[in-house]
Symmetry: C2
């Protein structure tokens, strides 16, 4: 069966976003420091239609993450926009503009029903209101035998981790302190059968991969 | 000048002790899992007068930690015993029995004055009531040109980190979740000039070393 693969950048003090998240600063204060390592990569820039960038020890990690993914699941907070029901006239369409970098079906966990939104480049956002298991089932079906990526944010990740549904977890541990914000592992309990299977050390980030033992 | 070197084992969710610390469970529930990697080492066992043990990738890290240390600083919580003033008749003498493994002067941060206690094997515990800088000054003098180890716990470490007095920090990141307990990096702010300089990856623990850039 296709795997549910979760990957996320996290600070040394356990935050996946800094304090005071807002529409203007969706990653919170200092939160963009968690992503400096990745936006510098040639592999990431290429996947987002940009030129240039670095090739380093993180390249193979990034390429591995992007490979064999047929669908993505994300939480409402990560998709973004004002909380609550969607606007009838001009509903929020995500952070990614008209050409989102997914190029496959994306399932957004939300309490508020909404018609699917078909972006350019093969990305369709489907809004799932009946819970994480239903979203996973739909995503698996849509992935056509490939794996499903769990993109975050923290609350969606915590729900899947608590339910023991994550098959593979890649933490990108960034050696900075954010001092506040959104914690990844709040109320998760234990690792629900995931164990550390691989570590790749670089000066800017430590890649820790967990899988089912 | 001799360096202040801090090393500590920390869980993936940022705890240095589990929930519900007590005299019976000084590391809190599950907290002993943070130390499984070290008590299994031949280098640690030898330093504590025990035989046997493993030699692995963590051995050189452990030996490096023990080398060139002339004095140790620890917080009252780590030294242990009931909080508040010391007993007049039979004051708490630490967790380590009559032969503590330090074999050098140890300075305990406390609000309650007490005469020094001279244990066997070259360890003398001196109780410092006038703050972290005074303790560091005394420890440096006692270390005779060698470095000073900051042994913990979390609150003592936070005070020294916030004051920018830590020159070298070794985090032993253990891939488990404790779900609660004492957090290492609460209210520390940023890393105060420490940057990641070395990572040693093993299946059971990731050694992350930070130093002044």
């Amino acid at each position: 069966m296709s795997k549910l693969r979760f990957r996320i950048s996290v600070s040394l003090d356990g935050f996946v976003a800094g304090p005071n998240q807002s529409l203007q600063e969706p990653l919170g204060i200092g939160g963009e420091r968690l992503h400096d390592w990745v936006v510098a990569l040639e592999a990431w820039r290429r996947a987002h239609g940009k030129e240039g960038g670095e090739v380093n020890e993180s390249t193979s990690v990034m390429e591995g993450e992007l490979a064999n993914i047929g669908a993505t699941i994300m939480g409402r907070n990560m998709f973004g926009g004002h909380p609550g029901p969607w606007s009838d006239t001009d509903p929020w369409k995500g952070w990614w503009g008209r050409h989102p970098p997914f190029h496959h079906p994306v399932f957004v966990l939300t309490h508020h029903a909404r018609e699917p939104w078909k972006a350019e480049g093969g990305t369709t956002f489907t809004f799932v209101t009946d819970g994480i298991e239903a979203a996973l089932e739909q995503a698996r079906r849509a992935a056509g035998g490939k794996d499903v990526a769990l993109a975050g944010g923290a609350q969606a990740a915590q729900q899947y981790l608590r339910a023991g549904l994550v098959d593979d977890m890649q933490l990108h541990l960034v050696p900075v302190l954010l001092g506040g914000g959104e914690r990844l592992f709040d109320n998760v309990g234990d690792l629900h059968g995931l164990t550390l299977v691989d570590t790749i050390a670089t000066p800017n980030v430590t890649h820790l991969r967990f899988a089912r033992g």
